[in-house]
Symmetry: C2
Subunit: 331 residues, 2 copies
C-alpha cells in the first residue's frame, strides 16, 4: 500500500483476444502494464495490435499523440519471471481448461508478491477449483469481462471462499479505478449473470422464430428499435421502475397478472442448436444484413457503443468515479 | 388511392396515455390528425398536452417554431361523427377490455370509409375476437406500440384472419411512413414479441436476485453497462452474428455446448409477484437510485433514448426510409 499516487501496475497473463482487450483497458487508464504469454511471440503480437489500435485512435482524433506515446511506453512484454514481479493486479486470460488454468495460477502464485490480486477471465470454471490448495487462493478471484472489456464496463467478480472482504474491496477498487463496473456474485452459477440473461432472451427469441411467429429480422427489430434501447441506459429493474409513476412497486403490483400469465407461457424448450436450426437462422440473418459483412457490422456496432458510452459518461444520473488509475489513491 | 402527394389523414380513437403518444407520432410526421375520446374533455386535454410538448420542443431547439405551428394546426379534436369521416388510418387506444374494444370497433366500422385501416393498440386481446362478425374485419389489425411510440419505433402488427396481403402491406406502409418499424406476427401469442422477450430476461433477473446471487443493482449493471448496450443497435440475432468472425453460424456451432448447458440451467420458476417480492425488489431499487425520483429518471431515460435514435438515424448501416408522410406516395 506504499504506492499512493503512483500508477497501478498490472500484469496480463495470456494475450489472446480477451487478454489484448484487457491490455487496452489497463493502458487506457494509465496503468504500467506488462504482458506475458506462454506461446512464443504472442505477447509481442498483442503489443503490436495495441500499438496499431493506438495509432488508429490518434488518427481519429480520439486521443492525443502524446497520450498515445505515454500508453505505448507503459506497455511492455516480459518473461514470466519478471513480468509479474512488482504488479498490484494480474489478469489471467488463458485457455478455458481447468488443468491449464490451475497450472497458470500455480505459477502466478509463485512469481507475484503476496499482496497482488490475481483475477481470471474464465467464463465457465469455478475459481474455487482453479485455486484449490494454492497458498495464494485468498487473493484469487474470477474477473470475467463481456468481450471486449474496453467497450463493456460491466463484469462479474466471484472470489474464492477464502478471499477476505478487505481483499474483495481492494479488487473492486482496482477494477473500478480502470473504468470497469464489477458486479459481485455470491455463489457460482452456470454462465454467471450476463450470459444467463442473454441466454434467457435468446431462448425465447429462437423459439419465436422457429415456430414461425416472426422472422429473425422481426425479433431483432423489436429489440433494437424497442426494448433494447432502454436497456442501454437502465437495466431490467430500472426500466420496470420507470414504467409507472409510482415506480417498480406500483408497476409490479399493477401488472402482476399480466406478467404471471406471460412468464408461465414462455417457451422453455431448449433449442437444439443442430445444423437445421443453425442453417435456418443463419439464412434469415444473412437476408437481414444483405451485403453488409460481419466485419463492417462489428466496426459499426463498436463505434456506436463507444458513442453511447460517451453519452452516458456525459450525462450519468448517478455519477461514478472516472477511469484513471492515478486518481485512485488507496490500493 | 387518389391522395397522392397529400398528407396522410389519421384518426385517434381513445386519447389516454397511449393515444396521446400516437398523436405525437402522426403529427410529427406531418399527418392531419383528428382526436376523439368518449370521455368528455379528454380529447381536448390530450391536444393541450401535445401543444405543451411542442412548446417544450421549440424551447429546446428541437423543432422550429413554424414546424410546431404547422403540427398544431394539423391536430384537432372532433365528435365521433366527423372525426373519422375522411381518414386513411385509425389508431384505437381505448380501455383493455374485449367488450369495450368490440363496441368501439363496431362504431369505427360505421363511421369510417371502407378503405380506412383500423389498428388497435391492444397489448393482450386477440384482434380476431375484437373484429368478430364485423363487416370491416378485413381492414382491422392489432398495431401495438411499446410505450411511448414516439421513442420506440418497433411495434407488433397482427392482422385478423380476413385481412388480405394487400391491405396488410398498405397498413405497414402507412406505419413505416410515420417512422414506425412494424413487425408482423403470424399467430397470436400471449404478450406478443417484445413483452415476452422482456419477461424472459426479467424472469431470470428476478430469480437471480431472489436467490441472493447478485443485487438488483448488480443485475442492472450487467445489462446497462454490458449486454444492453449492444441490443440498442443490434437485436439478439444480430449480436450473435457479430460475436464470431464467421457470423451466427460459426457462433452457434462453436458455443453450442455452452448455450445448451446455460439454457437448460435457466431459472424457469415463475416469480410470485407477491408483497414480499415487490417490497424486497422495491427496496433494492430505491437503494440503487438514491434520491433520484422516478420522474427525473424517466426524463433522463427519454432524453438519452432520443439521442440514441438520432445517432442511429445518422449512422444506420442499412438505411430505412425517413419518417415523413409526405414522402410516402402510395397509400
Amino acid at each position: 500500500m506504499d504506492n499512493e499516487g503512483l500508477a497501478l501496475r498490472v500484469g496480463i497473463a495470456g494475450a489472446g483476444v480477451i487478454g489484448r482487450g484487457w491490455v487496452k483497458v489497463f493502458a487506457r487508464a494509465g496503468c504500467v502494464t506488462t504482458i506475458y504469454d506462454k506461446k512464443p511471440g504472442q505477447a509481442e503480437r498483442t503489443r503490436r495490435w495495441f500499438l496499431e489500435d493506438l495509432q488508429t485512435a490518434v488518427g481519429k482524433g480520439l486521443i492525443t499523440k502524446s497520450a498515445a506515446e505515454q500508453q505505448a511506453y507503459n506497455v511492455t512484454c516480459k518473461a514470466i519471471e519478471s513480468a509479474f514481479l512488482e504488479v498490484d493486479y494480474v489478469q489471467e486470460s488463458g485457455p478455458e481448461e481447468l488443468e491449464t488454468k490451475r497450472s497458470i495460477f500455480t505459477e502466478l502464485d509463485e512469481v507475484t508478491v503476496p499482496s497482488a490480486i490475481i483475477g481470471s477471465s474464465t467464463s465457465a470454471l469455478n475459481i474455487n477449483e482453479i485455486a484449490k490448495n494454492l497458498p495464494g487462493s485468498k487473493r484469487m478471484i474470477t474477473a470475467h469481462p463481456i468481450n471486449p472489456p474496453y467497450l463493456n464496463p460491466a463484469m462479474e467478480v466471484f472470489p474464492t471462499n477464502s478471499v477476505t472482504p478487505q481483499t474483495l474491496q481492494r479488487a473492486l477498487q482496482i477494477l473500478r479505478s480502470v473504468g470497469m463496473k464489477p458486479v459481485v456474485m455470491t455463489s457460482f452459477i452456470n454462465g454467471y449473470i450476463a450470459a444467463r440473461l442473454q441466454a434467457a432472451l435468446m431462448r425465447e427469441a429462437i423459439n419465436i422464430v422457429q415456430r414461425g411467429i416472426a422472422t429473425v429480422e422481426g425479433v431483432d427489430t423489436m429489440v433494437r428499435h424497442g426494448i433494447g434501447q432502454r436497456w442501454a441506459f437502465l437495466g431490467p429493474f430500472g426500466v420496470n421502475h420507470t414504467n409507472a409513476d409510482g415506480g417498480i412497486r406500483e408497476y409490479y403490483t399493477r401488472y402482476r397478472r399480466t406478467y404471471l400469465e406471460i412468464m408461465k407461457d414462455l417457451y422453455d424448450e431448449v433449442p437444439r442448436f443442430d445444423t437445421a436450426m443453425v442453417d435456418a437462422l443463419g439464412e434469415q440473418t444473412d437476408q437481414m444484413f444483405g451485403k453488409v459483412t460481419v466485419k463492417e457490422l462489428v466496426s459499426w456496432r463498436d463505434e456506436r457503443v463507444a458513442e453511447l458510452i460517451q453519452s452516458k459518461v456525459d450525462s450519468e444520473i448517478s455519477p461514478q468515479s472516472p477511469d484513471a488509475c492515478k486518481e485512485e489513491k488507496t490500493f
